[in-house]
Symmetry: C2
Subunit: 182 residues, 2 copies
């Protein structure tokens, strides 16, 4: 089993996230020793589309990517559509690429990466509705259960979570990837 | 008052549309003599995000743009996110551009136009979350109540509906626009 004891993983999201895309990777990273931190634009609690509620640990305005080892972006169309309009959230996501740190993104979570302008020549998958947007943002979009491209791990839907979680853990264990960049 | 008697206007949408972005332009075009037709991927009824239900008049698979004078694309993030994955819907929307016919699009409704690949060098507004996607699709995105570009009418949110409806009626009355093209 991968040991990522002491690593700090930020989960960036807002209301309307796909519940299992928060709870499942959260459990996966904490089970093997990492600290998971819920980062969101506003303080208080966030609600998933299916009712899961969780306390925000840190507002994105107070968060600094340099204090984390990896980022996870859950999906949910309403969450992802809103999150990408928050410039501080876009900038926080971009900083993980600038710092060559692993990023896991699933479902609609990838929209914010188009705003962060970090997808040029990167291979990625997502919920299929994002295909054109991610290709237009410069990505090589493919339809696969999980895609790993130099520290960028992506999947399509909650059905892909087992494969997604396994690859996210691997990439976090490996650490920095020079080709994960802006 | 604009008279568009005898014109046929297709409203293309699926479940999760922004209710007022269907009902308000529908009333505006029918009040001045046009026939409005609800076109959707599946037969039966569609439901708006706030509970408005309406019967589908025509499935998009049976619809032909040549039998209509204009297209309206309401928003609602869930509607727009799903509709763009339906290739027949994308093709139906694209045909209005190929036939130089007026298209009104509001809020999240514009995503399907990225998939239809008809936005190169066109000036458009939308719900702000789509800004990057529409720019990456080649559009000149602006933040205005209503934008008219050669038969393409666009607005941002339900607050813009009075201005949107007025310009949609004008463009329908004018008829074909050579620069509305693919």
């Amino acid at each position: 089993m991968t040991d990522i004891t002491g690593k700090r993983v930020a989960f960036l999201l807002t209301d309307g996230f796909e519940d299992s895309e928060l709870t499942s990777p959260w459990e996966a990273v904490t089970e093997v020793g990492a600290t998971a931190v819920l980062v969101s634009p506003a303080d208080g609690r966030v609600s998933g589309k299916n009712g899961h509620e969780q306390t925000v640990d840190l507002t994105v305005g107070s968060a600094d990517a340099s204090e984390f080892d990896a980022l996870v972006l859950p999906g949910g169309v309403v969450n992802a559509d809103n999150l990408r309009m928050d410039e501080t959230a876009v900038s926080f996501a971009r900083d993980f690429f600038a710092q060559h740190k692993p990023v896991g993104v699933i479902c609609h979570g990838a929209w914010i990466l188009a705003d962060a302008d970090v997808l040029g020549d990167r291979t990625i998958t997502s919920y299929p509705s994002l295909k054109t947007d991610l290709r237009n943002a410069g990505a090589n979009w493919v339809d696969e259960e999980v895609v790993v491209d130099a520290g960028l791990v992506s999947s399509r839907t909650p059905d892909d979570l087992p494969a997604f979680n396994a690859k996210v853990l691997e990439e976090i264990a490996e650490g920095a990837h020079a080709d994960q960049t802006v």
